[in-house]
């Protein structure tokens, strides 16, 4: 997602007077095209701020998505009549969103380095063991292979899966993965269920890969190891994405209830 092109080249920033002008026009016309242009021209700022929070146990792509939510909020709330630059106004909103993301995950903003390193190792270890054993490994087996104690493995797995039960703005992310798009006609069971359940509209909004993953796990009865193999991603990633997607659906239902109150 981030590639090698510097962010300022991919998202050229507009001159400040033009930003102000566009904001005035946006407030007057509510033109979605102008809104999109303003958001796009500040994606460099988003990436810069997200990078400041990188290396704390969260994939950068996740952080960029969270920070983008902060940017969108700032664009929608900014008052161009105030004597302040938009970037000055947006920075605390974006940083606030990033901090909230860590807080919602129940993490102190800083995850210990040894845990980050073990976390990174575990994904490979679990994949390798699954292949060698032809089944999902146990915690004891993971501990031996990663040269860590079982307690350390449990701690690292917990931090990898730390997410709030009702997560706020739980955007489902791409995480920069290469995966096969095998979406479509075989997701019929999910399609049928969609019509009957309250999460139906939320299911329809999910990215194709997440929908497909739900279908494989809950309707085709595939194990997480099988899904990992099928999609060409790690087992830890499947587990994390499933948990996140389910949390997103719960979060959506919660919002729905609050709107109806």
């Amino acid at each position: 997602m981030t590639g090698t092109v510097p962010s300022h080249e991919r998202h050229p920033q507009l001159p400040k007077p033009q930003v102000k002008r566009l904001f005035r026009e946006l407030r007057r016309t509510e033109d979605p095209g102008i809104r999109a242009k303003l958001i796009e021209s500040h994606l460099g700022l988003v990436e810069y701020l997200a990078r400041r929070f990188a290396g704390r146990g969260e994939p950068l792509d996740d952080l960029v998505q969270v920070a983008t939510i902060g940017l969108v909020k700032a664009v929608d709330r900014f008052d161009p009549t105030r004597e302040v630059e938009f970037s000055t106004y947006a920075t605390p909103t974006i940083v606030g969103e990033l901090k909230r993301h860590f807080r919602d995950k129940g993490w102190a903003v800083r995850v210990p380095r040894r845990l980050q390193e073990l976390n990174l190792r575990l994904s490979g270890v679990i994949g390798q063991l699954s292949q060698d054993l032809q089944r999902s490994p146990t915690v004891a087996e993971i501990a031996v292979a990663s040269e860590a104690t079982q307690e350390e493995v449990l701690e690292a797995l917990d931090s990898a899966h730390a997410y709030s039960l009702i997560s706020l703005d739980a955007a489902v992310t791409e995480e920069g993965l290469s995966y096969h798009e095998q979406i479509g006609s075989d997701d019929l069971a999910l399609d049928a269920l969609e019509e009957r359940v309250s999460v139906g509209p939320l299911l329809r909004q999910l990215p194709p890969r997440e929908r497909h993953m739900l279908h494989l796990r809950f309707f085709k009865g595939m194990t997480q190891s099988e899904i990992a193999q099928d999609l060409g991603i790690s087992q830890m990633h499947v587990s994390r994405l499933l948990a996140k997607t389910l949390a997103t659906l719960r979060s959506g239902l919660q919002d729905e209830r609050e709107r109806k109150r």
Binding site: G106, I126, R135, S136, P137, T138, V139, A140, I142, Q150, L154, L157, D158, H161, A162, S164, L165, I166, L193, R196, V197, S198, V199, R217, F218, F219, G221, T223, Q224, S225, Q235, S239, L242, A243, L246, A247, L249, R250, L253, Q254, R257
Partner: protein, 136 residues
């Protein structure tokens, strides 16, 4: 403590229970998950089954909390350990009447695929869900 629990589960003739009571708020469900993780590791659960256990706990606890009575103070979760499986019994004060469902069709679809012997109901104003997660 860990050695003690390990001894229980190593003995084929013994099973035992661990109960956790948490405030009836979603943020505390992480404590239930953490307890489940430790117990599942003691039973040598595979990584796949461990995450199934998490999914089932999240789903059941979130549904009990979503339909809880405004006076609900605690959610009680009891784990019964045996060789090869963990049984989970989760309960909390409910705003629903007997016969009403606290699981949605969606929750049922998820739970059907990760858990066994699912039983749910409202008894005397308490929502109860029990299920079993096998290892393997």
């Amino acid at each position: 403590m860990k050695a003690l629990i390990a001894r229980w589960v190593q003995s084929p003739s013994l099973s035992d229970q661990v109960t956790i009571r948490i405030p009836a708020t979603t943020r505390h469900v992480a404590l239930v998950r953490a307890t489940a993780t430790t117990l599942a590791a003691l039973l040598d659960f595979t990584y796949d089954r461990l995450t199934d256990l998490h999914i089932a706990i999240d789903e059941v606890c979130s549904r009990i909390l979503a339909t809880s009575s405004p006076h609900a103070a605690r959610l009680r979760v009891t784990f019964t350990l045996d060789e090869g499986w963990i049984r989970v019994d989760a309960r909390g004060d409910s705003a629903l009447k007997p016969g009403e469902e606290f699981l949605t069709t969606w929750s049922k679809a998820i739970l059907d695929s990760v858990a066994e012997q699912m039983e749910v109901g409202i008894t005397d104003g308490v929502a109860v869900a029990t299920f079993r997660i096998p290892n393997g």
